[in-house]
Structures are given as structure tokens and as C-alpha cells.
Symmetry: C2
Subunit: 283 residues, 2 copies
């Protein structure tokens, strides 16, 4: 049995879920452009799922570190270099790839898309930013003996110009004896593999981390206005924030510059940068 075990070998990939916040339309000369959450997808040129859109990833080669595989795939396939990434979760379901078992370690990255010139590379036909919209279709909470269970049907809509990809995912969150157990099931998806699941998972983590870290700053350009920063927070948290309170909260994390945004229709706003001396309160 010991010797047998040494024969089990698996294909392992890394996949990156890259988010950015893009500008929408400017309604009038007075109004600021709307911001919107976007995710990077590539159109697969190779089987399986050739022609479908999915996250950028790659098979991990012999003697290749995960980090190297991730950075290599992003460079080769989309022309993205040296970005902040963090490991999210490793997906091990034997059936997640239709042909053979493939284990995938997923990573999340956040970038300012204005700093990046996307370019489709090897084994992908196209790379694009897709606007992300998740809406809850149904929701049900039932009491259980030791806790309760919440079922949500989510519809994910990803749009890029005329392209629209939709997925439906059922999320069952069970709270038993103090622990969350979460099952996710894809009901229908235009995305490759189980990437709809990965997206839901990444969005959840993103929301959580925005609250108690400074990851949101990865989405900002070098210099930004406080309203821009607030818009980014609002989009990530998916709720409106009060200006005065938001500013007090992030006061220590930013430093003002001497520059102003030359806008139109209203008072110009000061530009800020990230305060590199800022320290989180707890280590």
C-alpha cells in the first residue's frame, strides 16, 4: 500500500483571478464617471473548453514554484508583470476538469488597469476586462437542529462591450456548532471549468479583506482623490459610505500632495498618495 501510494500523480495548475476597478460613463460634464468592478478573463484557444472564457492559468511545471507559474502565465498570456497576488484556495474536486483530474491553486490579484496594456499571448485568443455583477435571485434560511442553513441562488453577469457571460450558482452556507460550512454548486455557467465557483469565492474574500486590510490601494493609481478611493471601497463592499466618516477612517493611510485634480463643473480636489509609513494597528 505504501508503494502503491507513491504512484498517484496529478496535474496541478495555478489560476489567477485578477480584479480592477474601471471607469464607466460620464453622464454630464458635472458628474464623476461611475466606477465598476471588473475581472480579467481570457478566451481559451485550446481544449478543454476551447472557445470559452476563463481565468488565466497554467499547468505547474516540474521544479517550478507556484509563484513563478502564476507570474509566468500572466506574462505569457496577458502581458501582465509583477503584480500583487495572494493564494486563495486550492480546488481538488476530481471532476472539475471534464477530461482528467486537474487540481487548481487559485490566486487573487488586484491592479490598476490603467497601468497595464493587455495583450493576448500563447494559448489564448483574447484577454479582456469584464464588468462583474452578482445578483441574488433567491434566498432561503432554514433552522436546523444545531444552527441554520442559508441557501442563495446567485446570478453572475460578466459583460465586456457586446459580450455577455452569465452563470448561475447555488451557494449553501451551513452554520453548525459555530462553524461555517459552505457548499457551492454551479447550475449553469458560460465560464470554463468551475471558474464561476472560484469567482464567488474570490469576491467573498475580497469583501472581507477590504474591511480590515489595505488591499484596496492596489487598485488605485499612484495619485488619486479621496472620492475615487471611496468609490472603490463602495464597489468592493457593495454599499454606500458616508463621506465624512470614510475620510476619518482612511485619514492615516494617505498623505496629501500639492497637486489638484483639474476637473470640471465643481471644486477641484486634492490628490493623495498612499502613506508608506502607515502601520496597521495590530501585527
Amino acid at each position: 500500500m505504501i508503494c502503491q501510494d507513491t504512484f498517484y500523480r496529478h496535474t496541478v495548475t495555478v489560476d489567477s483571478i485578477i480584479f480592477t476597478v474601471g471607469n464607466g460613463l460620464r453622464e454630464s460634464y458635472r458628474k464623476l464617471p461611475e466606477k465598476k468592478l471588473q475581472v480579467l478573463l481570457a478566451k481559451r484557444a485550446i481544449e478543454p473548453h476551447a472557445g470559452k472564457w476563463g481565468f488565466i492559468g497554467s499547468i505547474v511545471r516540474d521544479e517550478e514554484r507556484f509563484d513563478d507559474a502564476i507570474q509566468r502565465s500572466l506574462k505569457e498570456k496577458a502581458n501582465i508583470k509583477d503584480i500583487y497576488l495572494e493564494q486563495l484556495y486550492t480546488w481538488g474536486d476530481p471532476k472539475r476538469d471534464p477530461r482528467e483530474r486537474v487540481i487548481s491553486a487559485s490566486y487573487m490579484g488586484l491592479i490598476d488597469s490603467d497601468n497595464i496594456k493587455l495583450k493576448a499571448g500563447s494559448s489564448v485568443d483574447d484577454v479582456k476586462w469584464f464588468d462583474v455583477k452578482v445578483s441574488q435571485e433567491k434566498e432561503k434560511t432554514i433552522e436546523k437542529k444545531e444552527g441554520y442553513q442559508k441557501t442563495e441562488d446567485l446570478e453572475i453577469t460578466l459583460t465586456s462591450e457586446k459580450l455577455v457571460l452569465t452563470s448561475k450558482v447555488k451557494v449553501v452556507k451551513e452554520f453548525t456548532k459555530g462553524n461555517w460550512i459552505i457548499y457551492t454548486q454551479i447550475l449553469k455557467s458560460d465560464l470554463a471549468f468551475d471558474h464561476a465557483k472560484m469567482l464567488i469565492y474570490a469576491l467573498e474574500r475580497l469583501k472581507n479583506k477590504v474591511e480590515y486590510t489595505t488591499i484596496a490601494f492596489n487598485l488605485m493609481p499612484e495619485k488619486f482623490t479621496l472620492t475615487e478611493l471611496q468609490q472603490v471601497y463602495e464597489i468592493l463592499l457593495d454599499r454606500p459610505l458616508l463621506k465624512a466618516n470614510f475620510r476619518r477612517k482612511i485619514y492615516d493611510m494617505v498623505v496629501e500632495t500639492e497637486e489638484y485634480e483639474e476637473t470640471a463643473g465643481h471644486r477641484p480636489s486634492k490628490l493623495f498618495t498612499f502613506n508608506t509609513n502607515w502601520q496597521p494597528h495590530v501585527f
Copy 2:
């Protein structure tokens, strides 16, 4: 190149880092027993690292889900069944196994050790709870251009009766542009593989999760006193808590029973159970 990639195959394992809180000595008839954090280790019967102590794990078989592999290995090797586990991190360094590349998905579990009868099973010579002590030997913070860097030398001491295992680990935490990047390096370790790294990582996560979840309840028996619960929190957080404040904080999460602890030397304390109707404030 596409065809080439399909040939890369890797051995994948799952490893479980199981914590419990055990009782120490009772100094006098009046005093309560000291509590101490413990971690489960097995003495490896097979190569590589035969004879060394390490976490319980197993190679993931064909068509086997990660969860199944974890639960199987715990049952086969230590006689532990159906416990709460959560995925921690996947370690992909090509050199982490001395013989061939092995990728490991690590899981963290918390149990009440009194509910478990440990029994060494296949491919392990022994399984034991080890008291965990981590002490900081050196610490240095240096300012960098965009942030700062903190270096810690940690000494990990794991003890079980007469057995003492020590490890020294250097942790470099870099805070750059709002992101934590953490490198860990094992200087010296009595544990198998990179398990010292895994332990440090798990302890960090454990501390964080105790603050904003109810995982600590996994360490408690069905019925417990509030002081016992507080002791568990104190050990996990590694700092003393004030009784009155602690009780107000966990007030909603517990329900009192009619029973009392028959103690000695002081006023008997009421026994509580976890409140299964308790809901975290934010979903």
C-alpha cells in the same frame, strides 16, 4: 508546448494540523488546572523522514477528494473521525520534500481531545499531543523605501512527556504598498519536511480567526464553564483577558444550563453550552 505541458504530473498530499487545549497541573486543591495549547503529531514509520515527528497526512489518490483524503488519513493513522477542518494553504515549493516534489494542501482542525482516543495506525509508529510554545528570540524592524520590514527569529518548542522537539524559524514580514508579503525560512527543525513553517502559519491563522469567529468552541466539551472558555481564548490569543468584559462579549454565544461544576475550594460555577441559535452579526 501545449502537448508538453500535459505531461507534468505531481504528487499531492493533504496534511492536517490539529489543535486542542489540554489540562496542565493543578497546583493546589484551590487552583484551577492550567490550560495549554497542544498540537497532534505522528511519528513517521516510513521514508522520507522515517522516525521524525510530523503532521498526519496522506497522498491524495486518484479520484479522491481532498476532504476524503484528509478524513481517511486521520482515521487510518490516528483514529480520529469526522472533525471540523478548514483549508489553510497549499505549499508548492519544489524542494519541500527531499526526494521528489510533493505538493501539500494543509488543513487546520480543532477538537476537544477528551472526545478522542488516539491510536497509531498505518505508516505511523506513534501519535501524541505536543504542548506548543513559541518564543521570539530576536526581532528587528527596518524602514524601507515603500514601507518596512520586520524580521523575527522564532523558537518553537513541542513537548510531550519526556519528548522535546525544537525548531527555529526566521519570519520576514514585509509591508510594501499596503500589502503584507511574508517569507518563512526554517533554520533548524526536528519536524519532518516544512512542517515547522506550516505550524507557524496555522498558529497565525488560528489567532486571527479566534477574534472574529467562533472556532474556539470546537475545542470545548459539550458543557463548560465560562472560565474554561476564557482560558481557551487566552491561550489562543496569547494574552490575558478581563473576566467581566469577556463574559459580556460571549454572552450571546452561550446558553446556561441548570448544572454546576462540582469543584473544590471555591464557589461552584454554572455550566454553559454553545448557543446554536446564535448568529454572527454580518453574513
